[in-house]
Amino acid sequence: MHINQKKCIGCANCVPVCPMGAIFINDNKLAEINPEVCVECQACYRGMSVENLPKQPTRFFRGVLAFFKLRFQPDPDICPTGAITRDELTWPRSLRRVFSDPLMPHESTGIGGRGTMEVKNNDVTGRVKEGEAGFTVEFGRPGVGVYFREVDRLCRSLVGTPVIFEKENPVTSLMSDTKTGKIRDDVLNEKVLSCILEFKVKVTDMPGILEAIEREANRLDTVVALGIAIRCNADGNDTVRKQLEAMGFDAWRGKINLGLGRHTNPQKLQEAAR
């Protein structure tokens, strides 16, 4: 992202809008983006309304008001002159946008966002079965951001546990070795808004994995949001919640697949009939 210095009038509306706090007012009293902190999420570019005011009269007007200790202040979500622009991104910086902009589909999954469908379509894919626990470990969330070197640390700490990283997950696609959890060297210093590590284990292995994640997460220079996906029994109940509660977790909120999905494509139905 880039703020056009010829257009910006320095109203500072964009400064708090950045989820990473990458926008600041420079010595010329104009807004500027710190490229190291920016994760290319497009929140400033996409989320702000644009007033399209002419820059010179607006600057003059602001100057006159400032002389009388008054202030021209547009609505808090408006960039008065449309000064925020997008840059053409090259590798590895382009990775920042892939993980941070939810409208940017990832090549490995073909869907927007940072992970797979986990159990959102488990009713038709059966990805997580009874007796299995699908982990989602989301780094950098909420609103902190994460460097891939931090992700690398946690992934490698899981070596020796029965973890098999989800093949179709964007983070797994960045591993140079999925057995050791090693992330590619050329992306380690790239920062993203958040990214999700996904893997599946047996429910019996869940407590050990949770402990390992907690131990390593406390050493990270970021935050992680933990989630565990399970398949319910025929009555819609599960035993995992009690296990989690016994371990001290409060599993009261969740994303619940209601099991209403079914095969409806004619081709699939014909195959099933055959």
Partner: protein, 243 residues
């Protein structure tokens, strides 16, 4: 994706946050996705969703205006959102359909109708698990799979306060900045903005339409902000695991 999973919420919070979304899987149930997704959204209109998103080119209900000028700003007034009915009319390509309700009864009625319609799409509810289990006998739908939110870990000093976190976590993709949410909280406190106006500003940054403006108004007013009961359940909030 876990964009609606990790909202800051406690079981004793007011029952005003339910996200329901329908999605298809490529090659399995996506043959008539445009029609089925539109039907899903149409059914929700009766239950007055507070936010909504579907396959449109223009984004969810709350959207930024890129063509403002002096006339629109000071004479016509800003047009900061479209109505749910307008959004449904705009749906023109197959995609995920999402609606947000601020009332448990509305969710129950909606789920009952969706179950009867049998659209074939995978339908998910993001909320307190017990709420959905409790209404299962009446709606006829029970959980098939659940992704439990287990809270935050790591360097929790990096997180903002709970009022701000309650607002920012409603955009799971993290596009609502903590600083901007804080600015809105302060503006409401100083009576420079109404809570409704501030909630609308925040909602525009959430591109997937999962931001609950009704709950945001409550949080911006400072009512029933999730608190930490260190004896009961701190682990879902910034803090350590329960002792």
């Amino acid at each position: 994706m876990t964009n609606t999973l990790h909202r800051l919420q406690r079981p004793d919070d007011p029952k005003d946050d339910y996200v329901v979304f329908a999605l298809a899987t490529r090659g399995i149930n996506d043959a008539d996705l445009l029609q089925t997704a539109r039907k899903f959204l149409e059914v929700s209109l009766k239950y007055q969703p507070v936010n909504m998103a579907g396959g449109t080119r223009f984004g969810p209900m709350y959207r930024p205006e890129k063509d403002l000028n002096l006339f629109k700003l000071y004479f016509r007034g800003r047009k900061e959102s479209v109505t749910p009915a307008q959004l449904v009319a705009e749906v023109n390509y197959p995609g995920q359909a999402l609606v947000v309700f601020d009332n448990k009864e509305k969710l129950e009625g909606f789920l009952k109708e969706i179950k009867e319609l049998d659209l074939g799409l995978s339908v998910n509810v993001s909320s307190l698990v017990d709420d959905v289990r409790e209404m299962a006998p009446r709606t006829g739908v029970k959980p098939h799979s659940i992704n439990y939110a287990l809270g935050f870990r790591g360097d929790l000093y990096l997180l903002p306060d709970r009022q701000v976190l309650g607002l920012t976590t409603m955009c799971g993709h993290g596009l609502i900045s903590g600083n901007f949410a804080k600015k809105m909280v302060d503006a409401v406190k100083e009576k420079r903005l109404t809570p409704e106006k501030a909630a609308g500003y925040l909602a525009k940054f959430c591109v997937c339409g999962a931001f609950n403006t009704s709950r945001a108004v409550r949080l911006l007013k400072g009512e029933d902000v999730p608190t930490v009961d260190t004896k009961k359940a701190p682990c879902h909030f910034p803090g350590a695991k329960r002792a």
